[in-house]
Assembly symmetry: C2
C-alpha cells in the first residue's frame, strides 16, 4: 500500500512536470513556445539619404538571411507581413509586394499591416496566426518607414493621421500636443516632474551611445535635456523620439523547426493585443494606455510569467512620458510610481528591468513602421548574447511593448531564450 502511494506520488510529480514542460526538438522547455525567432535583421537607423524604404528593407533582410545559411528564403518562407504606417511619406502604398519584389521574394504572399506606430508589432501578431494555423511554417515579419526626406511639418501631419481626423487633427492637434496632455495629467495626478521625464531621455541616449545602429549615438546630459526648446509643454525637444529612416525584420518558424535554422532560437512565449478609442477625448483616463495594459495582461497570462520576471524590455518611448506610462501599464511598478522608478535607476541596465537598451525610439530612432520588429530585434540580440556593450548579463526573459497612435493599438510580446 505504502509502495503504491509512493508510485502515485512519483507519477503525480511527473505529470505535473509534463504539464509544465514542453518538448520541442527533443528538449524540455520550461515555457511553451508559440513561435520561434530563427533570425533577425535591422538596417542602420538614421538619415539614410538617397535610399528608398524598399532598399532599407533589403538591408534588413540581407542581414537576417546571411545569419541563417540553412534558410532558402524564397523556397522556405510561405508568407510575409510588413508593417508600414504612411503611404504619404514616399507616395507609395502596396508595401507588401513592393518590398518583397526588392528582397527577391516574389511570388510569396505579402501583406501590409498598419496599426500606426504599432504597425510591425501587428505584423508579428499576423505571423503568429499564420504559423499557428499550420498554413505557413516559416514567415517573414518586418517593417519599414522612410521619413527624413520630408520636412518636419509634413511628417508631423502624416503621423497625425493615426489620431482622430474629425475631432483631433481638424482642430490642429498633433501627437506632441496629445502626449503633452497625457504628461500634464500624469504630473497633476501623480506629481511626476519634468526632470523625471528628462531622465528617461538621458538613460535612452546613454543606451543609444552603445548601439552602433542607433540614429543618435551620443550622451545627452540632464541639463541639456531640461534646457532644450519646448515643443508642446511640458515636452521639450529631448522628450520627443526621432524622425528616422529604417527597416527591420524577423524570420519566424514553428518551434519544432527552429533548430533546423539556428542553435540559438528565441521563442515568443506570450503575446497580446488590444484596441482603444482612436480619440483621446473619448477616454476616461489620460494617465494609462489601456490597450497596452490589456495586451500585457494577455501576454503575461499566455507566457505564465509575471512582470517581475522580465529581464529586459523594449517599450514604446515615443515621448519620455510614454515610457513612464509603460512602466506602470506593464506592472514594472505601481500606477503613479513611474517617475520615481526612473529616478531610482530601476529601468537602467543593472536595475530591476533594463528598459530600451537599444536606445529606444528616443535615441535609436522611430521609423514608425519598423519600430515593432526593431524592438523584437533588440530582444533577440539580448537573449542570444549579441548585444555588445549594452548586453544585459544573463538575460533570459524579454518583453516588447509597442503602441500605435495614442495607444489605440497596443501589442505586447514576451520572449524566452532556450
Amino acid at each position: 500500500m505504502r509502495k503504491n502511494i509512493g508510485y502515485i506520488f512519483v507519477f503525480s510529480i511527473l505529470l505535473a512536470l509534463k504539464n509544465q514542460l514542453n518538448p520541442i526538438g527533443g528538449r524540455l522547455l520550461t515555457r511553451k513556445p508559440i513561435v520561434s525567432i530563427v533570425s533577425a535583421g535591422l538596417s542602420k537607423f538614421g538619415k539614410r539619404r538617397g535610399l528608398f524604404g524598399r532598399e532599407l528593407f533589403v538591408e534588413a533582410t540581407s542581414e537576417a538571411f546571411e545569419k541563417c545559411p540553412n534558410l532558402d528564403p524564397r523556397k522556405d518562407i510561405k508568407a510575409a507581413f510588413i508593417g508600414m504606417m504612411s503611404e504619404s511619406l514616399e507616395h507609395q502604398g502596396h508595401t507588401g509586394p513592393t518590398v518583397l519584389d526588392w528582397a527577391g521574394l516574389l511570388p510569396i504572399q505579402a501583406f501590409r499591416t498598419e496599426g500606426a506606430c504599432g504597425s510591425s508589432a501587428t505584423a508579428i501578431r499576423c505571423g503568429i496566426f499564420a504559423i499557428r494555423s499550420g498554413l505557413a511554417d516559416i514567415v517573414l515579419v518586418g517593417g519599414v518607414e522612410k521619413m527624413t526626406h520630408r520636412n518636419t511639418a509634413d511628417v508631423t501631419e502624416y503621423l497625425a493621421m493615426a489620431c482622430d481626423f474629425p475631432f483631433e487633427q481638424w482642430n490642429g492637434l498633433t501627437f506632441p500636443g496629445l502626449f503633452a496632455m497625457v504628461a500634464t495629467a500624469h504630473m497633476h495626478k501623480y506629481s511626476t516632474t519634468e526632470e523625471q521625464m528628462a531622465l528617461v531621455a538621458v538613460k535612452n541616449h546613454h543606451h543609444g551611445a552603445l548601439n552602433p545602429k542607433a540614429h543618435m549615438q551620443k550622451e545627452v546630459p540632464l541639463e541639456k535635456a531640461m534646457s532644450s526648446r519646448v515643443i508642446a509643454w511640458p515636452l521639450k525637444l529631448y522628450d520627443c523620439s526621432l524622425i528616422t529612416d529604417g527597416a527591420s525584420c524577423l524570420v519566424l518558424s514553428k518551434p519544432e523547426l527552429a533548430r533546423k535554422f539556428t542553435d540559438t532560437p528565441v521563442h515568443i512565449i506570450g503575446s497580446g493585443q488590444a484596441s482603444d478609442t482612436i480619440g483621446l477625448y473619448e477616454r476616461k483616463e489620460f494617465t494609462s494606455l489601456k490597450a497596452g495594459r490589456l495586451a500585457a495582461q494577455e501576454a503575461y497570462k499566455m507566457a505564465g510569467v509575471e512582470a517581475s520576471t522580465i529581464d529586459v524590455a523594449e517599450v514604446h518611448d515615443c515621448f519620455t512620458i510614454a515610457e513612464i506610462l509603460a512602466y506602470e501599464d506593464l506592472g514594472f511598478c505601481k500606477p503613479g510610481e513611474g517617475g520615481p522608478f526612473i529616478e531610482e535607476g530601476q529601468s537602467h541596465i543593472g536595475g530591476s528591468v533594463a528598459v530600451c537598451t537599444s536606445g529606444g525610439l528616443k535615441a535609436k530612432g522611430h521609423p514608425v513602421g519598423a519600430t515593432g520588429t526593431a524592438q523584437a530585434y533588440e530582444i533577440y540580440l539580448q537573449l542570444t548574447g549579441q548585444a555588445g556593450k549594452r548586453q544585459v548579463k544573463g538575460a533570459e526573459i524579454g518583453l516588447t511593448h509597442n503602441v500605435g497612435g495614442l495607444g489605440a493599438t497596443g501589442v505586447v510580446n514576451i520572449y524566452s531564450r532556450e
Copy 2:
C-alpha cells in the same frame, strides 16, 4: 477468402469516403471547410455624402449583426481585420481601432490590412490564419473606403500609390494608363476587340441594375459604352470601374461553431494568395496577372475543385479588360479566349459561369478597401439563395478573385454552401 475480399472492398470504400467527406457539426460535407461565413453585411454603395468611412462600416456591421442574433459581437469576436487602401482620402489612418470604436467593438484587437484594391481580400486571408491558429474562433473581416468627397484627379493620384512610385507614378502613369497598356497588349496578341471589352460593361451594368445596393443601377447599351469618351485608349469611360463609397464585412467562425450562429453557413473551402512585381515594366507578360493565376491554382488545389465546377464568381473588373484577363487566369476559358467568352454570353447569368452578378466593380462600384469582402458578400448571398432578381439558380460553388494594383497582389477564395 472471397468473403475477406468482400470485407476489404467495403472497408476500402469506407476509407475513401472518410477521406473525401469531412464531419462538421455531425454533418458529412463533401468538401473540407477551412472557415465558415456565418453572417455578412454591406453598406449601400454609391455617393454617400456627409458620412465618414467609419459610419459606412457601421452600416455594414449593423446588417451582419442583425442577421445573426445568436452572436454577441463584443464578446464573441476575438479579432478584426479591416482592409483600407488609402489614408489620404479621409486623411485618416489607423483604421482598425477607428472603425471598431464606431462599431462598438473595443477593446477587440484590430488590424488594418492593405494590399491596394485587394486590401479586404487580404483581411479575409488574415481571418483564416487567425481562426485556423486556434487563437481566435470567431473573427470579423471587412473593408471600407470613402472616396467620392475628393475630386477625380486626387482620387486617381491616391490610387496610383499602389503602383510603382519611382518608375511609374513619377512618369505620370496612373491605373487607366497601365491597364490601357494591358488592353493593347491583349488586343495585339489575341485580337481582342474594343467591343468585347464593352460587352463586359454591358453585362455588369445589366447585373448592377438588379442589385439594390449597387452604385449604378441602370442598363448601359453597347452603343453607349462604345461611344463614351476615351479615358486612356482603348479604355473608354464605361470600361472603367466607379469611384464609390462603401463598406463590407463578414463574420467568420471555425466550421465546428458555424451552426451555432446560422442554419445556412457558407464555407470557404479553398484560398490562395500570391505576389507579383509592383511595376508593370518588370513583367515578362502583360496579358495575364500572374499573382491572380497562382492564387487560383492554390485555391483550386486546396478546395479540390476545378474551374468548371464554379457556378458563380465575382472577379476583379476594375477595368473591363481585367475581367477578360480574369476569365483566362481563373481557367474559365483558355488564354486568349476571354474576348469570345464574353461575346458568347458564357459569363452571363445562365452561361457556363455567372460572373459579377453583383454588378462588379464596374456597376456595383469599387470602394477599393471594401471590394474584397463585398465580393464575398455577393457570393454569400448567391450560395444562400438571397440574391433576389440576380439569383443564380442552384448555385453551390462560388469564387472571388480580387487583385491589388496591377495584380501585384492576387487573392482567390472558393466557397461552398452546405
